[in-house]
Symmetry: D2
Subunit: 336 residues, 4 copies
């Protein structure tokens, strides 16, 4: 058993962490931190939860005592609170962007602000278990990747490793609106969002340098032409990925590469063109390889709050604590 704290408990990722941790047999949530909802009973804030209802939200991350802290806070908050948590011996799994880019200068270039914790940044491990399982096992600080990188990297990493790609890769991502968080904006205003498909993030989405950096660690990596689109769904992501094959392309062969790569990874499934509700609420990523004419196309589906966020964070915790990585994550998707 381990004790856990959730920081940012009133946001969507924080809520999903609490929902998923309500199933975890080895983790007890002992603290939920939220500036805006401090003082509220969790069961009143989130009446859908079936556990931890009597936990009262607190405001002070500095008072947290737990074996592991999940950080699901606005950008910039993690690097403010993580040093203190780590000093007090608490393992940290950050669901935000603060520790995902190893290099502080690169971080500043991408996010437009200086990194205030370069020391821990250098030690942080990129929390994509299917690619970095052994590094995660001994880590104190895990930078949990977000939804777009998880979906994109799981599809492309095996191909980069096998050097079968050449030229740029178009990644046309379609995301539900919960990915943008709980704060209302005009983009996420229902009358605006419900009637359109909205491409955004031009000219360079913030996750591109992170994704390209990880791919370069896998082999000869192609540049990404990445365009995210909001679609009128709440949960779920589909990345339609258009690579260029080096040499002959055969869909079955490529599907075989993916299956081979993820043979020991229970949460990645390779098969038919996936539907988003297969992944809803789970830690699964569904991959599919198809041919469009003679060209390859890959489809990658996951729940942006699940494998693309909170569920993956719990998978990382399982690895940190030496449990079977499936612990508490054996969910079936919603199906519809």
């Amino acid at each position: 058993m381990a004790t856990a704290a959730v920081l940012g408990a009133s946001g969507y990722l924080g809520g999903e962490l609490l929902r998923l941790l309500s199933y975890h047999p080895e983790i007890d949530v002992v603290a939920a931190v939220s500036q805006s909802q401090s003082g509220k009973r969790l069961g009143d804030l989130s009446p859908h939860l079936s556990r931890f209802e009597d936990l009262v939200l607190t405001a002070d991350a500095g008072a947290v005592s737990a074996d592991v802290a999940f950080l699901a806070q606005p950008a910039g908050e993690a690097m403010r609170v993580a040093p203190g948590l780590l000093e007090r011996g608490i393992r940290v799994i950050d669901l935000g962007a603060d520790y995902r880019i190893r290099d502080a200068a690169e971080y500043e270039r991408v996010y437009g602000r200086a990194h205030t914790d370069p020391e821990n940044l250098a030690k942080a491990v990129y929390g994509l278990p299917e690619l970095f399982r052994s590094e995660i096992a001994g880590a104190r600080l895990v930078a949990n990747p977000g939804c777009y990188p998880t979906a994109t990297l799981l599809a492309l990493a095996p191909l980069v490793k096998r050097s079968v790609l050449t030229g740029p890769v178009v990644v046309d991502a379609k995301s539900g609106t919960s990915g943008a968080g709980a704060a209302p904006t005009s983009t996420s205003h229902h009358p605006e969002a419900a009637g359109t498909v909205w491409p955004y993030g031009l000219p360079v989405h913030r996750h591109v340098p992170e994704m390209e950096g990880i791919l370069q660690r896998m082999g000869p990596a192609p540049p990404l032409v990445f365009v995210p689109h909001l679609v009128p769904l709440v949960r779920g992501i589909l990345c339609s990925i258009y690579p260029t094959a080096r040499g002959e392309f055969d869909a079955a062969t490529w599907a075989g590469y993916l299956s081979e790569e993820y043979a020991g990874s229970p949460f990645v499934r390779v098969g038919d063109v996936p539907r988003l509700p297969w992944a809803s609420g789970t830690n699964r990523c569904y991959l599919s390889v198809g041919a469009v004419g003679t060209a390859p196309v890959l489809f990658s589906v996951l729940d942006n709050l699940g494998k693309g966020g909170a569920a993956q964070a719990i998978q990382n915790a399982n690895i940190l604590f030496g449990w079977d990585e499936r612990t508490g994550l054996g969910h079936s998707g919603f199906g519809i």
Copy 2:
């Protein structure tokens, strides 16, 4: 020909006014006022418009010169600007709530603020043409009713006039989210709004006193048990109305009452259970009478931005200027 000004041009009702006025053969929009978007070209703010693209938005209602001003502003604004407009000889059609309740004390009770223009309030005409056509004809200031009252009153007024109701009437209203306006809120945040049906406005929705007041002018009026619900649609309203019949109820007879009442009203259609897209973008209200067991149920459908807002305002303008009330409003609904 008449010249018109639209105040509140960057909101949803203002946008719909400009869209519908782009079809009007007798009205030329000469001013569009918006505090927040002042200085912008209309064609840049609203690239969907096919007319008036070169109009530049202004901020000052005081400088407006036109034959008629459509007021589509936040609550409280109309009673601030209307007196000046009226003084300058401009007819005013207010799409907001400021002039809908005749009695200043009642207004204050309902809206929680004093009415600052009681003089014009007393002269304002309630702009539901199907019920008050002749009063509207000579008016200087028209209080255009909103979507819920229009849908509810058109269904119930003929029955109240014929004294066939007894006891309270349940009105279960379902509205698309554009009814709440263009300002983002947590209720209209897509991840919240897209996945639920949201009852609100308890214990007493602000439009109830207005609706009951109008019904009382028609005959022995029942109290309303009115509950609005947000549904995950952008445009459109369905009111499911459950009255109690005084004496025997027969659906065909009641449908006959409605048809008889609206024989001279081209925008009200009585027939089968209506679909919301029949009314999309139009000035139409579709009414249907059904039997649920031996009890009556009425369905009333309109576009909250159309007959429930901007289109009705233009219908009122047509009456004010003595044109055929169908002028510029001969739209077919979207169908799907």
Copy 3:
């Protein structure tokens, strides 16, 4: 441990049964029957499942051997296969309508076909555990109520028992489209369903006699004015219920009645106006009492496939086998 068979495994309710049973620690699914998908591996038919993937669907209900059979088949099928199953000592939980109305003549009147198994019909128990827990405990054949009756009865039964109602009750139900099943129809065709709110089931929905019959067993029962509406959602039901109070109405008092009634019922929650995603995927029903003016309104929310279908069937199985009724059903709702 018990073994279970799911008949109708390729429909929505069958799929939800298999999804929920994948979490059940005491039930092993040993047979999945589907006429249309017979021969397929379950993991290929339903890639979202995390258990039972290797089960192969069969076509013959007659060959099923298990401790309990869940029947999630088209209307009329259950009364064809249940007698054989019961004879072979298999307990039956029917998620369809065949055994819900006790009286064969009444069944024929409502469903327009003769009941072919009146003997078992007379012995069937109505599977709404919160009202009939003790009867269910010893049953061989349970008629699991559907979504509308579950949502309506849980709200109204405590009030009928306490004799606080008078006059008819308006039940305006809003349902997601999965309630209509997996077979495409023009009503559920996306371009039709996505843009409207669709009232149906007039003049008398088939579930009304069932609901009124159950209420009459609770006390002096009011007639129901029940109108279901399809809303553009996939999962979830909201019933907005408008009763008439006998005597003074006080929302807190009525909420107290509900809380008192369901003190020992872990799946019924009484509180604030509920959101549909609180209940998604769970066996929970969320109830709320409000005042609209001086009149009462109740809101009842559940997942039509969960507490309104498959989850409730598992709750019934738990009671049949003498397990804690929460076994395998401790889900947190989706929240969003």
Copy 4:
């Protein structure tokens, strides 16, 4: 003035034709043909229409007498009825696929059936007015392109003409579900379609040979990697188009090419990233050029039933009859 017949009047394209023709000052619809709805009054079939309500649908295309016939029928029907219509001197605008591919052998390869009217096929003109305006002017038979080709070709043709492309072009298309027509299928079943983004049409969508063929007539044409996706919307298409630039790419320069190309084409607008409701119900196509890193991306938006179908057919009719091509098509989009 001209008289028109609409064949396939009960489908979505037929319905949109009737809706749009209800605004046309020069066209009178004198016949509406539908096998399935023959005998019905149009106003009863389509209560959203504001004109032609009293027209009664007929079943026999052979009896049609009109100046122009719009064919909006299932694939294969047009080549069955067009010869007879043409013989009787009726101009034909076919909204289906039968006359879009000039070569009968190619048609057979793509559609899997022999072309039964090769003679007229050879004379048919491709009805994309912005590219083939002068050819259309004198035509007797116009093959109106569908939504995907219209959106894709309008974006790419100017670039092909200017020889600025090299290598394959990825076209990731997102379409509302009305594009699939009015017949219910499991793909368009609301519970399936509302919760996912569904890529389809692999390995080669039927419109690809048509699009590549047209582009080749414009200049050195790249192959297309085209993948359509259904998104949970009813109307509208967004094509996200990822070409490779021959030489340096500059977004403003490319936008200039598009603006230059369409300077005399009132329905094509070049500007900011477009929203789908800008185009709803109109004959407009909104194009935008952006940079994703150093690579080009184009966005093309239209209403699949409007510029991608019925509105474009009317534009073609305007050209056929020598009217201003904007006649009856001056609609503003819905905006929201």
